[in-house]
C-alpha cells in the first residue's frame, strides 16, 4: 500500500471511536434511567458517525476494493489499533462514566489539534466531530462531578472506577511508528505534547468532584500496536457477528 502510514494513522484514530461507540451502544436498553440510556446511545451514534467518515477515507487510501464496512467489521483482534481504555467493560455506571471521561478529555484536545492537520480530509473530519465531542466531555464531566460529589456510596464507586482505569491513561500519549511519520509530515498530532494539559485538566475536575487523583505511576500499554486486554475479543464477537455469520449481508 502506497500510503500505509496514513492508513494506519487513520485506523488508530477511528478504532478508538468504533470500540468506545460499541461499548456505549451496549447500554441501549440497559442504561440506569431512560434518560441516561438515550444519552449514552446518542453518544454511541455520534461516535459511529465519526467512524464512518474515517473509514470511508481509509478505504479510499487502501484502494484495494475494501469498503468502510469491511474495514470496520472484518479485521482480526490484533489488527484493531484502539487504546486499551476504549475497550474496558461497562462494569457499572461509574466505570462507563470514568472511561468516557478519561477518553473525552483526550479526544477533545486531540481533535482540536487535528483540525490544524495539513491533510484537508482529516482536518475537515476533526472540525465536524469536535462539537459532538465537546458535548460528550460535558456529559461525562458532569456525571463525574455528580457521582463524585454525591453520596458516600457514589463517591466510593466513582473513585474505584477512576483508580482502576487510571492505568490505561498513559497509553493515550504513546506514539506508534505511523504516528511519528505523520507528525513529521504535518498530518498527525503530536500526542506527547497533549499529556501535561490532559493530566492537569483531569486533576482539576477530579478535585472539583471531591475525588483523589490516583498516584500510580505504572501504566498498561499495547492497544495501539494490537495487543489488547481480554475484553476486546468478546466485544468484537458481538460487533462482527452478523457479518461473520451472513457474509456481505446488507440492511
Amino acid at each position: 500500500m502506497k500510503n500505509e502510514n496514513l492508513y494506519n494513522y487513520i485506523l488508530g484514530i477511528a478504532d478508538n471511536s468504533l470500540i468506545l461507540g460499541q461499548r456505549m451502544g451496549e447500554l441501549c436498553g440497559h442504561g440506569p434511567t431512560l434518560e441516561t440510556d438515550i444519552a449514552c446511545t446518542n453518544i454511541s451514534l455520534d461516535l459511529f458517525g465519526q467512524v464512518r467518515s474515517y473509514f470511508q477515507y481509509a478505504a479510499k487510501i487502501a484502494g484495494d476494493g475494501r469498503t468502510e464496512d469491511d474495514i470496520a467489521m472484518l479485521r482480526k483482534e490484533r489488527e484493531y489499533k484502539n487504546v486499551l481504555l476504549a475497550e474496558q467493560p461497562n462494569t457499572n455506571f461509574a466505570y462507563t462514566i470514568a472511561r468516557h471521561f478519561l477518553f473525552d478529555v483526550y479526544h477533545f484536545s486531540f481533535l482540536n489539534e487535528l483540525q490544524k492537520s495539513s491533510d484537508l480530509t482529516l482536518s475537515a473530519i476533526a472540525n465536524k466531530c469536535i462539537k459532538e465531542v465537546s458535548y460528550h466531555e460535558r456529559f461525562s464531566s458532569d456525571w463525574v462531578k455528580r457521582l463524585g460529589d454525591g453520596t458516600e456510596e457514589s463517591n466510593q464507586k466513582m473513585q474505584e472506577a477512576i483508580n482502576d482505569l487510571w492505568t490505561y491513561t498513559d497509553e493515550l500519549f504513546h506514539q506508534t511508528e505511523a504516528d511519528k511519520v505523520m507528525v513529521e509530515d504535518g498530518v498527525g498530532v503530536d500526542v506527547t505534547k497533549l499529556k501535561d494539559n490532559y493530566y492537569k485538566s483531569v486533576g482539576e475536575l477530579l478535585n472539583k468532584a471531591r475525588l483523589n487523583t490516583p498516584e500510580s505511576k505504572w501504566f498498561q500499554k499495547g492497544g495501539k500496536i494490537g495487543i489488547h486486554t481480554e475484553h476486546l475479543g468478546y466485544l468484537l464477537a458481538d460487533l462482527q457477528y452478523m457479518q461473520r455469520t451472513y457474509p456481505n449481508m446488507e440492511w
Partner: protein, 95 residues
C-alpha cells in the same frame, strides 16, 4: 441503592426563532441542569429545537376537569369573542 425516582420535569421546546415554546413531554431528572441535558438528548436529538425550557412538574397548577362546565362552557355561545369577523392579512403568519 435508592429506588426513589428523580422528580418529574415538563419540557418545552421552541422549534424555530419567532415561534413560542411548545410542551413536548416530560422526563425525570435530579435537578434543572440535568433536566436540560436530558431534554437535549430525549427531545431535540433530531434537530427539533433552538431553545429549551424545563419546569418541575410540581410547580404547574392545573385546572380540575370536574370544573370544566363552569370554566369553559359559558364561552361556547359567545361566537363574537372569536376574531372570525375580520379579514387577516397574509403577512400575519402565526395567529
Amino acid at each position: 441503592m435508592s429506588t426513589k425516582n428523580w422528580p418529574l420535569w415538563e419540557i418545552f421546546v421552541r422549534s424555530k426563532n419567532g415561534l413560542e415554546h411548545r410542551h413536548c413531554g416530560s422526563l425525570h431528572a435530579s435537578d434543572a441542569e440535568m433536566a436540560l441535558e436530558n431534554a437535549r438528548d430525549v427531545y431535540t436529538r433530531r434537530n427539533e429545537g433552538v431553545s429549551i425550557w424545563v419546569v418541575e412538574s410540581k410547580h404547574i397548577t392545573a385546572s380540575n376537569p370536574e370544573n370544566n362546565g363552569e370554566l369553559f362552557e359559558p364561552a361556547q355561545d359567545k361566537v363574537y369573542r372569536h376574531p372570525t369577523f375580520y379579514d387577516l392579512p397574509d403577512e400575519v403568519k402565526h395567529m
